[in-house]
Symmetry: C2
Subunit: 418 residues, 2 copies
């Protein structure tokens, strides 16, 4: 079968399964999640063997160490997958929630019901645990899913696909509700993102170039996350202790995550007081600083920032530092150079805080908190399928609710339009 | 200036204006709406003269009577535009609404703030009043708008564009917050839908072929509405009086609207009792009936429906009629042949009603009410920019809230991630 036909078959099966999933009871969906967890536990050795095969092929193909690390399924990571399935089973089911029913002058009562999106295509790279994370969220939210992992994890993903099918069948749900693309043909991605008749939304998880390509070529809506160029702005009315803790945590808690601060902005009125000691702390932690002229005047050891630095997601122990003359300049810098992901102000000033959260156009805006909190678990969504830097449908961390939408429900008593 | 450069200029101006509009106060936005209304009143005669020019050109180009009628701005329609502006001014401002703030175990408090989408592109045909309707909704929801009307209404639209600029300036808002594309070059549409750097979402209002073309070629999200193939299902437990009223109203209240019923489904158990007298009523009102075999066995005067009839939006006094064996068959027919717009069941049976609203996958589902109620005004949205049959972002009538999204707001007290 050619790859387009194969993808059409997966699509048709997913569309059919989506109807059954939309009406599946919360109980059946939870039973499926727990049965998938049990199947993974039962197949732990086989899964590790399949993963070893992927790792061996990866080494033979010369994959770099970081990629190989993400590819590896250790016992710890398998345990995390299993725990994740149990956690998703305990999350409240968003489907069917009815809200906002109000009577209208005509006599009808109008409200909304939360419903699944339908079929969700997930495109990701290397990490085979995404197969379970993404698949479980789609399942719990009453959607069907088509999962397309990287070719480097194909053996692991095929084995996980079998566990998913086992779990779905054990709960009496269609085995095609969560399908893994079991070919490494690259044309599968092109087919998946151009089948609006079978796929309702695409969630790409991977590098910027993958996401850009998918956004460009997709014929269906994409919930996407490009860069995470996040800022902390230390206002002139900042509490210095909070400012120091937040600035250090936002940069150094983890370097490779999208909610890590990449540029620190400091109000000129307090730069001389706070920046030198902060710079010292960063250097002690091994962070390279790249500053504007004003910052370097205060901290001569800093490297000079180039224009590009303000637009760079380092994902590394490097931090751009800029002294700004005012709150207005800070907001303007963030809206121009940021990626609309997450930005935080440190201030004790009510009006400055209120202006910052109103005027900064990012999916998460914060006062006196580390940007590292921008995360589905930290926000209480229970889990996240990704962080959207888009403006329509969902912004910020996307959990179960982001995989649903709302339809209108009208309760009448025989009313007709006059 | 070539058309692409021209559209890029409009785009850049809109993007800049969007920042100002996002922070514009409710008062300023309302003042602008009222000032636009005043400018239209002041320019009433000039507007009628411009519209007469459009009508003359339209007649010379051989436009049909229906199109010419939609193009015409009578005094009554101008009054309606002015009233519409006053009404939008009285609607609550959705922007800045903050909801759902909850403390998390880390100590941060997380909630959401409603924010504009940014720049909205509207593409529409003939009716120049859409310029004011769509422009006023974008303005009130804090967005910038680029409006691209049909070439046949260019003189009217240019004049309305002047009134909008006057009103925006009177309120101290950027005159570029609502821009009308003042060229009839068709390439303008192609440019508008492929500038993701300047346009955040496209709302096409027009015929199916226009919307299909835009969906296919757009590089930005599209809030779209294709067909309105709506159904009424008369269940075996229907109240016959409600069923008759709703079935007649849903078809005959207006023939050309998207929420008009196009197919009537009747449960086999009650078809013999209700269908003959209902058929008689339709015929008396001049409605042509096209029935399935079972329906024609009961009403021999009915024409025979072909397979195509179940998939047709007539927008005319024609009704397809099908007798179905069960609630399951009714739901299956609607999900297969409907357009996910609006569908209603007439029943006194609790379980049948509950199953219908849960399992029918349409943007509006109703019990004992006419499909004609699917409308922003009837639902209490105050106004509507269109009806979405999409699944992501917005389903059903789209009002001010549909032109916004929500960002996360985090209030902290110096918290850092552990």
């Amino acid at each position: 079968m050619d790859v387009n036909q194969y993808m059409q078959t997966l699509g048709r099966q997913a569309r059919e399964a989506a109807t059954a999933m939309a009406r599946a009871s919360t109980n059946d969906k939870n039973r499926a999640l727990l049965a998938i967890a049990a199947a993974i536990e039962e197949n732990r050795e086989a899964l590790k063997a399949a993963n070893a095969e992927d790792l061996e092929n990866g080494r033979a193909r010369g994959l770099d160490a970081a990629l190989l690390d993400r590819l590896e399924l250790t016992d710890g990571r398998i345990n995390t997958m299993i725990e994740g399935l149990h956690q998703v089973a305990t999350l409240p089911d968003p489907v069917g929630e009815m809200t906002d029913f109000k009577y209208r002058p005509s006599g009808i009562q109008v409200g909304k019901m939360r419903v699944p999106l339908g079929v969700i295509g997930i495109i990701y790279e290397s990490r085979p645990n995404v197969t379970i994370e993404a698949g479980s969220l789609c399942l719990k939210s009453g959607n069907a899913a088509i999962l397309r992992g990287g070719s480097e994890s194909i053996a692991s993903n095929r084995l996980l696909a079998g566990c998913i099918r086992t779990g779905l069948e054990a709960a009496g749900l269609p085995a095609t509700a969560v399908q893994v693309v079991e070919t490494t043909d690259r044309a599968a991605v092109g087919a998946l993102i151009t089948m609006p008749e079978f796929v309702d939304v695409i969630v790409p998880r991977g590098g910027k170039s993958l996401i850009e390509r998918i956004s460009r070529e997709a014929r269906v809506p994409v919930i996407k996350h490009l860069d995470g160029i996040c800022h902390v702005f230390i206002d002139k009315d900042a509490d210095f202790s909070k400012a120091t803790n937040i600035a250090i945590n936002a940069k150094t808690h983890r370097y490779g995550t999208c909610n890590t601060m990449e540029t620190l902005l400091v109000h000129a009125d307090v730069a001389a007081e706070i920046l030198p000691q902060l710079a010292e702390a960063y250097v002690a932690l091994g962070v390279e600083l790249r500053g504007c002229e004003d910052a370097r005047a205060l901290c001569p050891a800093m490297n000079a920032a180039s224009a590009e630095d303000w637009d760079t997601e380092y994902l590394a122990p490097i931090l751009a530092v800029r002294v700004v003359a005012s709150l207005d300049d800070a907001i303007a810098h963030i809206n121009r150079h940021g990626s609309h992901h997450t930005d935080s102000i440190v201030t004790e000033n009510y009006s400055a805080g209120r202006r910052f959260i109103t005027e900064v156009d990012s999916s998460s805006v914060m006062i006196n908190a580390s940007t590292r909190f921008a995360d589905g678990f930290e926000y209480g969504l229970g889990a996240e399928i990704g962080i959207s830097t888009d403006k329509i449908h969902a912004r910020g961390p996307v959990g179960l609710e982001g995989l649903t939408s709302q339809k209108y429900v009208v309760f009448g008593n025989g009313e007709v339009r006059q």
